[in-house]
């Protein structure tokens, strides 16, 4: 290590955080020269726990892997188990699963857009976006009764139907969301605050994105045309017209624009499903004590943050022999380490936030001067303010 280099640990956690992680960031002056990661502060042993629970109990557990994309996990899990059982679910149930998943994507992306605005010191935008996000939260509550764990998909179909009067409510909500999201897109395209902090920041070249197996909106913002919904269609995605959004800026601005456009695509997918949903039953009843025949199944889903995989192996019993889950954030961790390299300390919060790990409220940030052993600790809030102030003075 050069004499002028220092190591800054960022993280690991805050009680309010969804995914605590610690980044060890090596800096030379204002520049980040290297970054490493340490995870697992919230490893709950869910894969182990699933081995001692029935398939139906497992459903409740996977739903609680994540509070933001709970529906992505249950969608992935249920189709995994259904494929192992050779169970074909009713058409209407597939449409309802898609509607829930896309509403979830809208809420997740809007939540992230608000956070991104906050990280660059644009709190007005943060408050407006989160206010409008309440529209989609209300729609999710309307169809499921819940704001967080919607508990819609179940093995064999979905738990609740969407009756005609709710269809109208959802359409009205979609109109509001579309109008507001288009306004935000216009604003993001023209607002200097975003471009000053996002253009050319946290660059991930397409070559790096491929080599590091990057997934989801982060990969698409580096020009990689990949989306499980289009590439490996599940449920009824092969019947629904939609575009895979890519941008080739490879920076934070592109990651913002990909998500804004995806919100608009998701709104159209929801509308299409509401119009084309066939009548009929919504679930096939399965026994809570069902056995799954010997099988191994790989199930893939495009979660809001990217490709999500569930891999199950059953040996004919009532409990999975092994159930593996890989959530998209893990797939983007190596990429974020790469993005940080060569950037400024002031950009660390927005670059880390750029992959949407909901990590930006990392609790403490300790600075260590390795030459004099001088130490000081900043909270994430202080680092964020430092970033905002640094840009005010240097731009």
């Amino acid at each position: 290590m050069k004499e002028t280099e220092f190591i800054i640990p960022v993280g690991p956690q805050h009680p309010a955080l969804k995914e605590p992680e610690k980044f060890l960031i090596k800096v030379d002056g204002e520049y980040v020269v290297d970054a490493d990661v340490r995870m697992g502060y919230n490893h709950r042993g869910i894969e182990k726990a699933m081995e001692s629970r029935t398939y139906l109990q497992g459903l409740y557990l996977v739903e609680r892997i994540c509070g933001i994309c709970s529906c992505a996990h249950t969608t992935c899990y249920t189709q995994c188990i259904e494929e192992a059982m050779g169970l074909e679910i009713p058409e209407r149930a597939k449409y309802i699963r898609v509607i829930t998943a896309e509403l979830e994507r809208i809420h997740s992306h809007l939540l992230w857009l608000g956070i991104a605005a906050h990280e660059v010191g644009f709190d007005t935008l943060f408050f407006y976006i989160w206010r409008d996000r309440e529209v989609v939260m209300d729609l999710l509550e309307l169809i499921s009764g819940n704001r967080v764990h919607y508990a819609m998909p179940t093995i064999g179909g979905v738990r609740r139907d969407i009756p005609p009067e709710k269809v109208n409510e959802i359409k009205k909500g979609c109109n509001v969301l579309e109008k507001r999201t288009k306004y935000y897109k216009e604003l993001i395209l023209n607002e200097k605050t975003i471009h000053n902090r996002g253009d050319g920041v946290g660059v991930l070249t397409p070559k790096e994105a491929v080599a590091l197996c990057t997934v989801g909106p982060v990969a698409r913002a580096s020009g990689i045309n990949t989306d499980v919904r289009a590439d490996d269609p599940y449920l009824v995605y092969d019947e629904i017209p939609f575009n895979v959004i890519t941008y080739d800026g490879c920076d934070v601005t592109s990651r913002i624009l990909v998500r804004v456009d995806e919100v608009l695509e998701s709104i159209n997918i929801v509308r299409y499903c509401l119009d084309h949903m066939p009548d009929g039953p919504i679930r096939k009843v399965v026994s809570p004590l069902m056995r799954v025949p010997e099988a191994e199944v790989v199930s893939l889903v495009e979660a809001p943050r990217g490709e999500l995989i569930h891999y199950t192996r059953s040996n004919g019993g009532m409990k999975p022999y092994r159930h593996k889950v890989r959530a998209p954030t893990l797939g983007n961790i190596l990429a974020v380490c790469e993005m940080l390299k060569g950037g400024y300390i002031a950009d660390v919060p927005i670059v880390i936030a750029g992959i949407d790990p909901c990590l930006c409220c990392a609790d403490r940030i300790a600075f260590v001067d390795v030459n004099t052993d001088k130490r000081w600790v900043w909270t994430d809030e202080q680092l964020r303010r430092y970033g905002v102030k640094w840009y005010q003075q240097n731009s």
Partner: protein
């Protein structure tokens, strides 16, 4: 029709690494292939697949199969009509070890670290096998996803550790 393409992928792999080194394979449905190869042909198989489009590691799963650990590399050929090929190799339960594939696909390194933490598979020549998902004070030797470690036993050992 699609299945024929899938069979060709397996045939090409067999041709490259040798018929006798492919233990078994199956195509349960469109866009899914499972292939088991001999552990000493892992690198050759991954090289062949990466060169033929399967350069995206979706994840790596480890499974305790009783008399050994099966490591499953879920490799995806991206693009429209993507295919996920799960490449399986088996290693001994004691001194389980495999060569790292991170030299061929850099993105694999984080998943190898995870499998090392949870099942104890030693990935030779891995750039950094430091703990990733298990805590710093994790009791020595417990690889939680091995079937021999019961949840109660792990809890007991963790409680003992707390007392230190």
């Amino acid at each position: 029709m699609e299945r024929e393409d899938h069979v060709k992928i397996v045939e090409a792999l067999k041709l490259d690494i040798g018929d006798e080194n492919v233990i078994n394979w199956k195509i349960p449905r469109a866009r899914r292939i499972f292939v088991t190869v001999k552990a000493d042909k892992l690198i050759d198989a991954v090289k062949h697949l990466a060169e033929n489009g399967f350069g995206h590691v979706t994840t790596i799963s480890g499974v305790d199969v009783g008399d050994g650990i099966e490591v499953v590399y879920h490799l995806t050929r991206r693009g429209r009509e993507s295919i996920t090929l799960s490449l399986k190799v088996k290693t001994d339960m004691k001194n389980s070890s495999l060569p790292t594939i991170s030299g061929i696909i850099p993105g694999a390194s984080i998943y190898e670290r995870e499998v090392h933490d949870l099942l104890g598979v030693n990935f030779k020549e891995h750039p950094n096998l430091a703990p990733l998902v298990i805590p710093d004070n994790w009791p020595e030797g417990i690889r939680p996803l091995l079937k021999k470690w019961k949840v109660e036993e792990i809890r007991k050992r963790l409680a003992e550790n707390e007392g230190d």
